[in-house]
Symmetry: C2
Subunit: 355 residues, 2 copies
C-alpha cells in the first residue's frame, strides 16, 4: 500500500495505491458508514466488471448501497444526465448524509464529483478511478464538470473527494487506446514537472508491453498531490498541468471524443505547445525534438488533414481564453513550465500545421 | 452607511446597508473592475425599476456590463432556466474572470449564486437584494439553490458572495405580501436568537405603517452575519435559522408559491414549531401564546382546510428529513433554539391542525 496526501487543511485527503484495493473498500470505508445511503455512480460496462461485485461486498458489510449507471462517453456529461442522476438519488431516499462512490474513468469522476458538490448543497464522495488517465490525473484535485451545448466543462466546481483509491489491477481490462491516453498525461508530468521522470518514461515507452504502471502511477500521484496542495483553486502553479490542453481540447472538439481520447489529444497538444516554446526561444531545438520523438513513440491515431482556422475557433471557446487572449502553458525547460500570455494566433496556427 | 462582516477567513465579506446605495455601485465595485465582463442577473420587473438604471451607470463608468432576466417566481429556479442563463453568459463572452451581480429577491439570489458557483468552476458574485426577505435573510450566508421536479433547493451549493449591498429604498416599491413575507423572517430572528429584539418587533408590528425597516434590517444583518461566521457549512448553530421552515416548506409545496410567500409559510410554520416546543414542555403555555399572538398580528393569507396527511408527505421530502427521521428546530426559550431529533409524526400532525 502506497499513500500520498493532498494537504488542504480541513479538506486534506489521502490517495491510496494498491492492487485489488477495491476488494478492501468495505473495511476502508467503514468509518464513514453510519447506516446512511451509499450510491456507486458508474457506467454499465464497469459495473459488470467490478461494480456489482463492489456493491455486493458493501451490502454484505451493512452498507445501504445503490447504484446509478451513466451512459458511455461524453453523453454522460450532459445536463440532462446530471439531472436524471440527481432525481434518481432522491428516489433512492438519499439525503445530506448520503455518500457517493465514483467508480470509473474521467467522465464518471467529473460527473460524480459535480453531483456530490451540488446535491443538497454538497455531500461526501470518494474517487475509485478505473482508467490509467483517471488514476494519474483526473481523480485527484477535485475538478468536477459537465458540458453544455456551448462547450466542455463550462459548468463545474472544485470540490475535493474524501479519499482516492487506486487499484492498478483495473488496468488489466483496459482497451489499448485508453492506455495510450493515460500515457499522454503521464508524459506530461515529466515534461512540465520532472526531467528525471521524463527520461524514465521515455525509456519505458520504448517497450510498452513491459511498462511499469505501478511505479508511473505512484510518481504521478505524488507530483499531482504536491501541486494541488500548493494551488487547489487553480490560480497559479496548478495551471502548468494544462500543458498541451489548449490545442488538445480543440482537437477533441474537432474529432469527437470517440475518435480521439483525451490523453491522445493532449499528446498532440503537447507537441504543438513544445513547438511554440521552441519558436519563442524558451527551449532549444534539441529539447523540442526530444519531446517530439518521445510523444511520437506512442501509437497515436493519425489526424486527418487539419483546417487550422477551424481549430482556432475551437481554441477561442476555451475556459483559458480570457478577455480575448489565451493563457498558454509553455516550457522553460523539460521539467519546468510557466504561463505565457498573448501568444499570437499566427504562431498557434503554425504549431497546429506541424501535427 | 452601516457595515457588518461575515467572518470566514479568506472568504470574509462585508454587508453594507444604506439607502440609495445602488447608485454608488460603480464606485463601490470599481476595485473589482479590470475590464472583464459583468452580468446583472435579475427579473424583468426589477430591471425596469432599477436594473436598467444600474446597468447604464455601470457602463458609463467603463464596466463591460450585460444583463440576464429570469422568469418570475419559482420557474426561474428550474434546471432549464439555469442552463439557459449559463449559455447566455457564454454568448456574452463571459469567462473565469467575469462577475455576476444578483439583483432581486430570494429566487434571483439563489439562482445567481448557483450560477456563479458553477460557471467555469466558480466566479465572483455580489448580492443586491431588492425584497425585505432577501435583505434580512437569503442574500447573506451563501446558500444557493435550484429546484428539481422532486423538490425545492435539492440542487445547490454554499458559495459566499464578495459583498452584499442593501438598499432600503428598494422596499418602497414592494407589494404588501412581500413585506409580510419579510416580516415573518424578521420575527424568526427574535424568536430563535434575541428575546429583546422579539419584544421590539412585537410592538412594531402593531403599527405596520410605521414599521422601522432600517433598524430591523440592521439587527437581522448583524444576527445573521454572526451565525454564518460561526457555522458557514450548516453543520451546527446555523440550523436554528430553519425554525418554522420544515412545516413552512411543506405549506409552500401544498399551496404553491404564488398563493403563499416563503416568509408567510414560515410564519405559519413557526406557530406549529412553537406549539411542538410547548407540547414537549420546552417552553411554557404563556410563551407559546405570546409567539402565537405576535405572528397572528401579521396579515397572513388564510389557509384552506388542511389535509394533515398530505402535509406530512411533503415534510418527508425535506432536506432535513435524514434517514427517515426529521431534525426539527424547537425552542428552549423565546430567544433560544436547538435541534430536537425524532419528533413523532402524531405531534407534527397535531401542530398542523391548529393552523
Amino acid at each position: 500500500l502506497k499513500k500520498y496526501t493532498v494537504n488542504l487543511k480541513n479538506r486534506s485527503y489521502p490517495i491510496y495505491v494498491k492492487p485489488d484495493i477495491y476488494k478492501e473498500l468495505p473495511q476502508l470505508l467503514s468509518e464513514y458508514n453510519s447506516s446512511q445511503r451509499w450510491v456507486i455512480i458508474s457506467q454499465h460496462k464497469i459495473m459488470e466488471l467490478f461494480g456489482y461485485k463492489l456493491e455486493k461486498k458493501l451490502k454484505e458489510n451493512n452498507f445501504d448501497c445503490f447504484n446509478i449507471t451513466l451512459p458511455n462517453g461524453e453523453t454522460a456529461k450532459s445536463i440532462k444526465e446530471y439531472n436524471r442522476a440527481i432525481e434518481q438519488m432522491i428516489d433512492f431516499g438519499c439525503d445530506r448524509k448520503s455518500i457517493v462512490i465514483a467508480l470509473g474513468g474521467g467522465v464518471v469522476g467529473d460527473v460524480s464529483g459535480f453531483i456530490a458538490s451540488t446535491f443538497m448543497r454538497g455531500i461526501k464522495y470518494f474517487q475509485v478511478p478505473t482508467t490509467l488517465l483517471s488514476m494519474v490525473d483526473s481523480s485527484i484535485g477535485g475538478k468536477t464538470g459537465i458540458n453544455t451545448s456551448k462547450g466542455k466543462n463550462l459548468i463545474g466546481t472544485i470540490y475535493q473527494p474524501k479519499a482516492v483509491f487506486i487499484d492498478q489491477n483495473f488496468l488489466k481490462t483496459l482497451p489499448k487506446d485508453e492506455v495510450v491516453s493515460g500515457l499522454g498525461e503521464i508524459i506530461k508530468y515529466g515534461i512540465v514537472l520532472d526531467f528525471k521522470f521524463f527520461n524514465k518514461v521515455r525509456n519505458w515507452i520504448k517497450d510498452l508491453s513491459n511498462f511499469p504502471f505501478e511505479e508511473a502511477i505512484e510518481i504521478c500521484c505524488k507530483l499531482k498531490s504536491e501541486i494541488i496542495s500548493k494551488d487547489e483553486m487553480d490560480n497559479g502553479i496548478r495551471a502548468v498541468l494544462n500543458f498541451g490542453h489548449t490545442i488538445g481540447h480543440a482537437l477533441e472538439l474537432k474529432y469527437g471524443f470517440n475518435k480521439l481520447k483525451h490523453g491522445e489529444a493532449v499528446a498532440y497538444g503537447m507537441i504543438s505547445a513544445s513547438y511554440i516554446s521552441f519558436r519563442l526561444k524558451k527551449i532549444s531545438h534539441e529539447q523540442y525534438k526530444l519531446i517530439f520523438k518521445t510523444i511520437r513513440l506512442l501509437p497515436l491515431p493519425t489526424l486527418d488533414k487539419l483546417d487550422v482556422n477551424e481549430i482556432l475557433t475551437f481554441i477561442k471557446r476555451d475556459k483559458k481564453y480570457i478577455k480575448g487572449k489565451i493563457n498558454f502553458v509553455t516550457l522553460k525547460n523539460i521539467g519546468s513550465a510557466a504561463i505565457t500570455k498573448n501568444i499570437q494566433n499566427k504562431l498557434i496556427m503554425d504549431s497546429i500545421k506541424i501535427l
